[in-house]
Symmetry: C2
Subunit: 342 residues, 2 copies
Amino acid sequence: MQHAASSAVVVAGWHRMSYSFGDQTYISQELEKHIRKLHDAVGNAVTQGRYIIFGAGSTQLLNAAVHALSPNNASSPAKVVASIPFYPVYQEQTDFFRSVDYRFQGDASLWKNYSETSTDRMIEFVTSPNNPDGQLNEAVLQGQNVKAIYDLAYYWPHFTAIPAPADEDVMIFTLSKLTGHAGSRFGWAVLKDEAIYQRMQSYLTLNTMGVSRESQLRTLQLLKVVLQGGKDMFEFGHETMKKRWEILNNTISMSKRFSLQKIESHYCTFFQKVREASPAYAWVKCEREEDKDCYAVFQAGNITGRRGSLYFAGDSYVRLSLIRSQDDFDLLLHKLNKLVYD
Amino acid sequence: MQHAASSAVVVAGWHRMSYSFGDQTYISQELEKHIRKLHDAVGNAVTQGRYIIFGAGSTQLLNAAVHALSPNNASSPAKVVASIPFYPVYQEQTDFFRSVDYRFQGDASLWKNYSETSTDRMIEFVTSPNNPDGQLNEAVLQGQNVKAIYDLAYYWPHFTAIPAPADEDVMIFTLSKLTGHAGSRFGWAVLKDEAIYQRMQSYLTLNTMGVSRESQLRTLQLLKVVLQGGKDMFEFGHETMKKRWEILNNTISMSKRFSLQKIESHYCTFFQKVREASPAYAWVKCEREEDKDCYAVFQAGNITGRRGSLYFAGDSYVRLSLIRSQDDFDLLLHKLNKLVYD
């Protein structure tokens, strides 16, 4: 509830009725400018000389990127892969839209040797820091026909150290993990290649004719507030998440039944120091032989996580979210303490 | 600029941050209720006992419906068709997304006999009133495996008589042709069948995780204003469009070079009388042998229309939009007068 007055938006009845802005695009140039400013201020992505495109959350952009990186009319569809454990939507989307041009093919590491010699297009999803485990992943596949989609939803100082500005061909960000406004359905991609930019643009035009102007207007207002605050929001975010991680770590380390992922310390160019971990999720492993279904173990303790198998990591894992409200987190801890000490 | 104060929206910084509403859906129940109220007041669609789903404009819903009506894993893809002249996005979308499950197959009437005996799924787009020519179309194809998607974007009293409430299996509406707020990217579908509703829901979830909450909030406010006004907006819309059509008709009838589509009068259950035509578009034919490229003829007169060939009707046709601002319409007439009398 910080910055209540400055973050509010008033939309007049006749505002932004048209399909396009004054320059005949679906994209607010003012918002684009502020996105570039924000990346410059945080130092988490190179935007100079890059194209920026908007989507309805990163969700829409993920599939738009797969489409844009797939060959058109190739003899075999592009192979879409990701490193286990990975965000299930990559597979769900790729399977669901059943395009002739691409097919999901599971774990990236299984295709390592293949990718170097293959003439098939391969598309690797790289999530950094990773959902669910918070690791700063890099692409596993190498080769002339390999393209990577970097999902940088969590590459902000609240969740991770920023070792250097990311400078990948295709980078995707989302408002939902920056300010928490998931409901606005606003994301953006930063792109090196003009042809890819054009193909993603076509996808967005035929899919939804761009992004709601109300979302763009509100996002602009929110980014202005973020920028005016300097390091405020990021310090607040990092402090909050770091504290939660510490407490969780202390609790779980009391138990031999459960273990947590380890996250290495990195020098953060934003905070200009080596900083402690503050991931968005706890990736918990049930260590006992008999706790085969870790989800069920937590469910029995009244804690609803997400099954490890959703992330293709097996059911000895469960993902707990640390980015809920403080009340929710306190409740989680309370229940976790009972589970650990009982 | 009517109802300036009442149609404005204020969005607080912390409003609707979450992915979902209180009931865990992506859909505002309050907005859904107002959509049902509006259809009841206008009498243009049956909504009782029907499912309602939201999309980013009708654009997103059109492809979601094609997806939902296509068979999964059938031996041959669904055949998607429409009646010439038709809105080009039907083909563009269906071609672009290159699904294994459906393929665009051109003019509906060519598949008439085939559809009655076919075991392939056929999906027919029916636009009523039609874009570009304003006719109250009905499905052309019959048969057990035929499904129709009714695009009812223009089925409002400003553009057409409402002979009866539409009661089709799949009906799609959009805010952009109701209040003119194209930039909000808000549309909705009214559906009879629960399985189709579920499949469209999955499409929307994996495509964009529902529709921007800001768009939903603004649409709600706009519909409240429309409903409070009673018949106000529809009378204003109809009067405006009717006058434009009359003037255009008078101008074009002066010329043997051009002709306009004829639109039959129908009894309108909303205005409770037989009412005159008030279409959104003029579908102009160049009648002279030498005016093979009607688009170029208008372009030479400084009038930018849309080529008839875009609608698969050949280049002796051009579509002129009558739903721009009054200034734009006056300018169109001015140029048209020069073209007709020169």
